[in-house]
Amino acid sequence: MEDQTKKIITDAKAPDGFSGEGFFATKLDSVVGMARANSLWPLPFATSCCGIEFMATMASHYDVARFGSERMSFSPRQADMLLVMGTIAKKMAPILRQVYEQMAEPKWVISVGACACSGGIFDTYSVLQGIDKIIPVDVYVPGCPPRPEQILDGIMRLQDMVRTESVRRRSSPEYQELLASYNIS
């Protein structure tokens, strides 16, 4: 009896809906959101020390696989979540942009660390002052560098967004407008 009550539940929480004898009814949005949120394939774009913290995040101790992200994708075409970690030089900016453009919708971006978020201490002619100058960002993780717990927290915040995102968001005029403001079509 006691063993049963202490059992850790690892299944994803079911979305709100109506259940009864042999049926469960919910919104398509919720089901798709649940599926997406628990299987985010990360594309690590690591250029400096934040990348080292991410290595710890994906290794056994912190284990990002617990959140459905065990499969690092090194092809932008097969990734959902772009993690930009580290200083992005202006010379690197077009490459990062190309990587983002090559990802298939739906796609999300996490900016990890002070440099990716704002340029950090590198307020200088050669460094991009935040990746949101060239691509849209969903979650910002502050820190210099952030600890793995913070990166995991950023991923969990993104999961919350993904879980509640409408399946029609990517074709909405607002989203098209956002992309257009970055000159991405």
Binding site: K90, K91, S118, G119, D123, T124, Y125, Q129, G130, K133
Partner: protein, 176 residues
């Protein structure tokens, strides 16, 4: 026998006369000024002379002195190394502020190629006869030469910096 400083100075003065001047031992290296027109000859002599034998070009870099006399606003500094006697030497060439141009030394040392490109990239100094004088570290679209003093070090696109936190306001409390 080790290569003595006096031998170097004597040899260069005898060969080039007034084109080389201001010999001084500074920061552990014998340093002198050479006319920018004569750099190829001076460097070739240092490299090929059987006594001097400065067989290696360690470094090429630029300097900018915006407040100096017009004819001495830019400078190119060369470091050479004699591996046989383990002696180093530093050559400075001053250039005109309006038209910083100097002969490329890539004909003597192929290793000067990227170092001269870097100096061009950051100071806009033109190396005549260089096989491929274009930017090497900064992005190609950049229009300025960032190590020149008139170029601001900080990026103009920065949006999150509050001057109050950097000691740039006289009063840290009243700025809006």
């Amino acid at each position: 026998m080790a290569l003595e400083q006096n031998t170097i100075i004597q040899s260069l003065s005898d060969r080039f006369g007034g084109s080389v001047s201001d010999f001084i031992h500074i920061h552990d290296i014998l340093t002198f000024e050479a006319d920018s027109e004569s750099i190829l000859e001076v460097m070739g002599y240092l490299k090929d002379d059987p006594t001097l034998r400065f067989n290696f070009l360690t470094d090429v870099c630029g300097m900018h002195f915006p407040d100096a006399d017009k004819s001495r606003q830019f400078s190119v500094v060369y470091h050479m190394h004699n591996w046989i006697d383990n002696v180093r030497i530093r050559i400075k060439c001053y250039l005109n502020g309006d038209n910083p141009e100097i002969d490329s030394v890539t004909s003597l040392f192929l290793g000067a190629n990227w170092q001269e490109r870097e100096t061009y990239d950051f100071y806009g100094i033109i190396f005549k006869g260089h096989p491929q004088l274009k930017r090497i570290l900064n992005m190609d679209e950049m229009v300025s030469f960032p190590m020149r003093k008139e170029f601001p070090l900080e990026d103009g696109g920065r949006t999150d910096k509050d001057d109050r936190f950097f000691g740039r306001t006289t009063d840290n409390y009243t700025q809006s």
